[in-house]
């Protein structure tokens, strides 16, 4: 049963979608167009001298081993954040998807971190993990574990991964919970009747039915890890120590806003934009296929 309303004429439908089109034009097409244009120029910070350099900014980027390192680092970071936040969220969702006392309260508490601004969340993490003044950080040093994320690449990376994943757990939790609740009770009952218990039932019945949600969340989490973690990383480590936590989006900021190298920064943004387009296309294709079934 499909319901479709057809608006007559040409102008009326256009009028109806106009606000959205205007928003897209102003907040996406225009800046994106500017980014593409700037990525082909070299300009001084004030933009007084600007020359067309073609694809030179891109060839400089990909000729720079540090940029390639940054790509690899971003991939590792995104994969780790997506995996960690999704597995924790799934575990919590499975636990919350039962008849337990205080279920509502439990769920609200889990969703809460999503409302915390990234910079605030980072400050909380600093208060926890700072090697001298942090609750956990100082304690680790006290018991003899040399904890210093300001001077240890792996610890710094570990910390930004955990902090970024923590922030996303709530979001994933909501979707997993909704996904779990949309699995027909009858299917679960049937599996139970057939004697499938615990892990076996989860693996063979629940998880396959949850796969659409999982795929959707993978895309969303990758995009989140690639873009929305800027605030967290910037507040925690500013990309350091060395370049240990400098992901692509941090590099865009560093080159564009701090170093005022608009050309290079725009070229990096364009590369990122292509990444997002690919991810989004994959998501559409997947969701589209599901719709056809």
């Amino acid at each position: 049963m499909e319901r479709r309303t057809i608006f007559p004429g040409t102008w009326f439908p256009i009028l109806l979608v106009l606000p959205q089109l205007a928003l897209t034009a102003v907040f996406f097409l225009w800046p994106a167009g500017q980014a593409i244009w700037s990525s082909t120029t070299r300009a001084d910070p004030f933009g007084e001298n600007s020359f067309f350099v073609g694809l030179e900014n891109f060839s400089d980027l990909f000729g720079d081993p540090l940029y390639i390192d940054s790509i690899t680092r971003t991939l590792v970071f995104c994969a780790a954040v997506a995996m960690l936040s999704m597995s924790v969220a799934l575990l919590l969702a499975v636990c919350a998807d039962r008849e337990i006392r205080g279920r509502g309260w439990y769920r609200v508490m889990l969703i809460w971190p999503y409302a915390v601004a990234p910079a605030m969340a980072a400050v909380l993490w600093i208060l926890l993990m700072h090697p001298q003044v942090g609750l956990v950080g100082a304690w680790l040093n006290h018991i003899g574990i040399a904890w210093d994320y300001k001077l240890n690449d792996d610890q710094a990376m570990g910390m930004v991964i955990v902090a970024s994943a923590w922030k996303q757990v709530s979001y994933n939790f909501i979707f997993f919970l909704a996904g779990l609740q949309s699995i027909p009770k009858a299917v679960i009952e049937a599996a139970r009747m057939d004697g499938a218990k615990g892990w076996l039932r989860f693996r063979t019945v629940v998880l396959p039915l949850l796969m659409p949600t999982v795929f959707f969340l993978i895309v969303v989490n990758l995009v989140y890890a690639a873009f929305d973690t800027f605030g967290t990383i910037q507040a925690l480590t500013q990309g350091g120590p060395g370049k240990a936590t400098e992901t692509l989006v941090v590099k865009v900021y560093r080159d564009g806003v701090v170093n005022l190298d608009i050309g290079a920064s725009s070229a990096e943004s364009v590369v990122l934009m292509i990444g997002v387009i690919v991810l989004t296309a994959m998501q559409f294709r997947f969701l589209g296929k599901r719709g056809e079934k």
């Binding site: 070299r42 300009a43 001084d44 910070p45 004030f46 933009g47 007084e48 001298n49 540090l66 090697p131 001298q132 003044v133 100082a138 040093n141 006290h142 300001k150 001077l151 240890n152 690449d153 500013q238 350091g240 120590p241 060395g242 370049k243 560093r254 806003v257 701090v258 170093n259 005022l260 190298d261 050309g263 290079a264």
Partner: protein, 457 residues
């Protein structure tokens, strides 16, 4: 269509007679001058005080000081505003942004230009040479107006020195003495105190502004170039030179001390400050502008001393170089001569010895004029606040050479970040000090060449 034209025409006609009295009224009212700055806390209060007193001192201009975030944020905001034709009249730009601002062409009006246009009287000779040099062209004309200048100093904890059996009145003056002092502090103060109290981690020494103090200042003090072409003053084609064996030896010493647990790298820029303020580090290199915070926070006896030098490299250590920021006059398409006059009046106002002295005493920045310094001396400020003149002594030591005048390099903030990155790798044992500096120089030179290409037509 026709009707619309008629209507707009009528509106324009109707507006014309009204517009005239409005602009006349505006002229009669005060001319508004906007200043963007990056100062917070006590220092931000001080800018507001300057604005208040300037406004009270005359009837023609109303200056409004607006906080715009950190130094890099203020620079970015200023550039973005200029590109949009909305630049403030004055922008406070940190010293490492000077190279970029000098290449800003018609976006800025340099002080000498402003003086010529408005009749502002500025005598460069009345400013401290180390301060003036940083913000002047090679021929001595001033490009921007010094506002807040500090320099690197060595803060030390007298109580810790005493506990370690060191003479609290004799801070280390050479790097060899510094090395010995940190080892003693580690063994006789940090370790025993930690063992007894189980309190927070204590460390002999730390350094804020690592790139500025341990590399840039180190070069100036020992008359070693940071870059060729007089540290960039003589041309955009300067190349970085801070990977000399002397630089590497100094960095290697700090890396070794760090490995031996006598030195702690506490992060970039001002991040390590709290280590000294809280008493966790016995020696803390930092900006002289930290004085206000130390007075407020330190629960121990402390003092400041000049950054040590290496007698093997020089018998006559040079002046240290400045940090801080200066005021740049920005242009804008619709700016009136009266507005530039107001800017000039404000710049004149802050250069007044009395204002300069107050700014110095309220913030911990050095007086930028010689007269301001003399006034502070005459009023006995340094007897009341011993050690407050260490920064000035440090800045005025010896004669200013091509290597101690300051740095004039485009995209210097980026180069500093590169230095931090490479040093952090070296501190983790991933590379030697020499390799770190070599790599920083190579990467930094690439940035300089990019800058050169971008500003040359």
């Amino acid at each position: 269509m026709q009707r619309r034209t008629l209507l707009t025409g009528a509106a324009a006609l109707a507006a014309a007679p009204i517009a005239a009295p409005i602009s006349a009224q505006a002229q009669a009212a005060k001319t508004k001058i906007v200043l963007w700055h990056a100062l917070t806390g006590a220092n931000g209060e001080e800018i507001n005080r300057l604005a208040r007193e300037f406004n009270a001192s005359q009837g023609d201009y109303a200056l409004e000081a607006v906080f715009k975030g950190s130094y890099p944020e203020t620079l970015t905001a200023t550039i973005a505003a200029w590109r949009a034709g909305q630049a403030p009249h004055l922008a406070q730009i940190y010293e490492v942004g000077t190279g970029s601002m000098l290449a800003a062409g018609k976006a800025v009006k340099q002080v000498w230009e402003l003086a010529k246009e408005t009749g502002l009287k500025i005598d460069p000779a009345s400013y401290l040479p180390a301060v003036r040099g940083y913000y002047s062209l090679s021929d001595g004309r001033m490009a921007s107006m010094p506002l807040n200048s500090s320099t690197g100093v060595m803060w030390y904890n007298k109580d810790a020195f005493e506990a370690a059996g060191l003479d609290p009145e004799k801070p280390p003056t050479t790097w060899a003495e510094f090395h010995a002092a940190t080892v003693t502090l580690r063994d006789k103060w940090a370790k025993p105190t930690m063992a007894k109290s189980g309190g927070p981690d204590l460390v002999a020494a730390t350094s804020s502004w690592f790139a500025w103090i341990q590399i840039e200042q180190f070069g100036a003090i020992h008359n070693l170039p940071f870059a060729s072409k007089s540290n960039g003053f003589d041309g955009l084609d300067a190349e970085l030179k801070f990977n000399s064996p002397a630089h590497a030896k100094q960095l290697q010493m700090l890396i070794d001390l760090s490995k031996e647990g006598a030195f702690k790298y506490g992060g970039r820029d001002a991040q390590p400050d709290p280590l000294f303020y809280s008493g966790q580090a016995a020696i803390g290199f930092g900006s002289s502008a930290g004085r206000g915070d130390i007075v407020r926070n330190a629960k121990f006896k402390w003092a400041a001393s000049v950054i040590p030098y290496d007698p093997a490299l020089t018998s006559t250590p040079n002046n240290t170089i400045i940090g801080g920021a200066s005021l740049w006059t920005m242009t804008s398409p619709k700016r009136m001569p009266a507005e530039y006059k107001g800017v000039a009046a404000f710049l004149q106002f802050i250069g007044h010895p009395d204002q300069d002295m107050q700014f110095h005493e309220h913030t911990g920045y050095v007086p930028v004029t010689l007269a301001g310094f003399e006034l502070a001396k005459k009023q006995g400020y340094y007897e009341q606040a011993p050690g407050a003149d260490i920064a000035i002594k440090s800045l005025t030591r010896g004669t200013v050479t091509a290597n101690s005048k300051g740095l004039r390099l485009g995209r210097l903030p980026e180069i500093r970040n590169i230095v931090y990155e490479e040093v952090e790798k070296a501190l983790q044992g991933q590379q030697s000090a020499q390799a770190a500096l070599d790599s920083a120089v190579t990467r930094g030179n690439k940035v300089l060449r990019e800058f050169e290409k971008s500003v040359r037509t």
